[in-house]
Symmetry: C2
Subunit: 421 residues, 2 copies
């Protein structure tokens, strides 16, 4: 027991892909681990769009953090909101007090970036949290119920116009899934004119899915258009007041629904951690993943800016965070053991994939096959995402739901849980 | 099409067991049906306690109303909150305008009855809506996370004391399910002293489960006590300020959690429907199920007071509502066809059942077997509830979850979705 008191204390901020992997790695070491997150679950963000479009339940993409560490008595979970780091005193500041650390890893992730447009932020829906996905689901379903009671065609059309901003995987997946959801709604709103319903995908640049090859980008746009999505490229949003989306060319789109998937930035407290941050609020790390100013503070994943031997900072995707978790763990163990030859992080690109709704996806640059599209790509997408979901139980029920959706053409999650009169 | 305009218009308020059954019956007739509910889903209330204790997801016990009537083009759903009836003008008043009817059936259900104790109502949790079940889940899980960070033992014990008021099926099921949830929590809160955790079930009378035989009531109490529930009979609540539950004998129980399952009353707008109501706000119907003052307004289920040839008004359970739906439909069709020999409603008691947690239940007065307890009763309970769940899909996933819970001893719904800092 005497030895226990001398164990190094590892504090990890964030229970996402990177943070949980780190805690699992450290669970096997002779250290004490404290994992801090403001949520008590790990969110499987790649499937958030399926919660927002009534395919999956919240419980299926959120796994209780403590359940990961049932048998790891040296891992403790602390539910709190991180607020900054005092490097001099070696403490993490939270809304539930200070936490002393020997080694600290910031793995706190990202939030939606509205690029300073406060009006847009106030009136549109983000796509980063479980609550936001539920808000979108409730709101979209509400729009149909309200339109069904609305006699003014102009007001009705505004309610039935759904705009997704951002041509990355989230925007592609969300807009594709919305058209499918509306196909199901059409079977049940006998008195609503579905020619008034529209889904628009707005992208500021000339391309969607920047991480895949140009031919796959074109394929994605083609498939989306075939599904009925109005894909608007080279289109920039400048404002939104909740009723009219203003574009840079001076035109407006009357709509009550703007889903913002156009950018991410690090969670705000990262700027208060003692290191230098980039324009996206991400803390700059050296090639050992250490934050400037301290040997014992590391940062990984979406909240870290890593740019060594790469043209641009690494993308904000799970594989980066998980690979960095391994390096951060290895380097901290070396420091604990008094070794100085820390490892340099090297990112291994595992390829990219995005689904465009039922039976369609694009997959690029993976080991197995350089490119895939269509049904086979969709199966690959499903397989990879099922495997990565935490909890064998969720794998089962999600697999059943997807199969059910495929064959039955219904979605049982179409319930409105926040009633506004 | 000319004939269509002369079709009688049937308006049904409430999409619960009774209302949906009515709409399904009228869907086959040459009438127009308008089903009104403030929610867009039918809630399977008997399993609400499983949402509140993190066993099931919201989507599994809530079925989108429109999905029932996909192929019934003469049934229209109208999402609105009913506010009263103007019998003279034959209109239903709602928060989205007036709805004219030829025949109206009130099937609007019940809400929690706090018996006028406003302080209790303000601080305790009801168990009638999906939102309330989620509030309980979030709150209970929060109490553990907060207690885990709390150093004052008195404050911690108050956080870890959970009181359920009411010894009916809901109270029995909720208190039993809470002890099981806490057994799982115990495996994951390595530093929390679980001798500080307690579940109390408070019942004002000398008995729990008034609808079953005395030997089964005793059995239920015995099983609950074995599970660790502190069953307090002959105990009356007189007040609750959010911190201390006050009992009639002058003692108090320090607790931050009171779940109120001690009584129901009709939803409030029922008193504004032109008929006479009883003390529980239920509208009095004649033996044909008609509301006083109008031949064409009927009431069924939990919002109706039916007392003909019975000692007490009928219980507020699904079988009553569903049997009354059949009679109300038959009588309205007779009126439409100009017949005067309306049928008298006769309730056929199908027996009662309640589960007391994993592997234990009591079943009484059913056709198959007059009494059952233990594992066989629990299987019967599961079977009946699975069958009655709407949606084959939900049957599947719920069956899997129950099986999973039985063997794995975990609950994946333990996620906190409302973050209070």
């Amino acid at each position: 027991m005497q030895q226990n008191q001398k164990k190094p204390r590892i504090v990890i901020v964030g229970a996402g892909f990177g943070g949980v992997k780190l805690a699992k790695l450290f669970a096997k070491e002779n250290v004490d681990v404290l994992l801090v997150d403001r949520h008590n679950f790990q969110l499987f963000q790649p499937l958030l769009y399926q919660v927002s479009t009534a395919v999956l339940s919240t419980d299926e993409i959120a796994y209780p953090v403590r359940a990961f560490f049932r048998k790891s008595r040296n891992v403790e979970f602390f539910m709190a909101k991180a607020e900054g780091v005092d490097q001099a005193r070696k403490v993490l500041l939270t809304n539930h007090g200070e936490i002393a650390y020997d080694y600290l890893i910031l793995a706190a992730g990202a939030t939606t970036n509205y690029f300073g447009m406060q009006e847009v932020e106030a009136h549109s829906y983000g796509m980063k949290t479980l609550q936001e996905a539920l808000h979108i689901r409730n709101h979209v379903l509400h729009m149909f119920e309200r339109a069904n009671k609305e006699t003014d065609p102009e007001v009705r059309r505004r309610m039935l116009t759904f705009v997704v901003v951002g041509g990355g995987p989230t925007g592609i997946e969300e807009s594709g899934a919305l058209t499918e959801l509306f196909g199901i709604q059409q079977k049940e709103f006998h008195n609503l004119d579905f020619s008034e319903v529209s889904v628009k995908l707005i992208e500021a640049t000339a391309n969607v899915l920047p991480m895949v090859a140009p031919n796959l980008r074109e394929h994605a746009v083609k498939v989306l258009r075939k599904k009925g999505v109005d894909v608007m490229l080279n289109t920039q949003v400048v404002g939104y007041d909740g009723n009219d989306l203003k574009l840079k060319d001076g035109t407006t789109i009357p709509t009550q629904t703007v889903i913002w998937a156009a950018g991410v930035k690090a969670v705000p407290f990262i700027k208060d951690c003692g290191g230098e941050v980039d324009r996206g609020g991400r803390i700059i790390v050296n090639e050992k993943l250490q934050v400037e100013g301290s040997d014992c503070v590391f940062a990984i994943g979406d909240c870290a800016h890593y740019q060594h031997g790469t043209e641009r900072p690494l993308p904000t995707v799970a594989p980066v965070a998980m690979q960095q978790a391994q390096t951060a763990h290895d380097n901290i163990m070396k420091l604990i053991q008094g070794q100085q030859d820390l490892a340099t992080f090297h990112y291994k690109d595992l390829g990219a994939m995005a689904t465009i709704g039922r039976g369609e996806a694009v997959v690029d640059k993976t080991k197995i096959n350089p490119q895939m599209t269509g049904f086979i790509a969709w199966c690959a997408w499903m397989f990879v995402h099922l495997l990565r979901l935490a909890g064998a139980h969720a794998n089962f029920t999600v697999a059943i739901k997807w199969t059910w959706n495929l064959f039955s053409g219904t979605r049982l999650g179409r319930i409105i849980t926040n009633i506004k009169d």
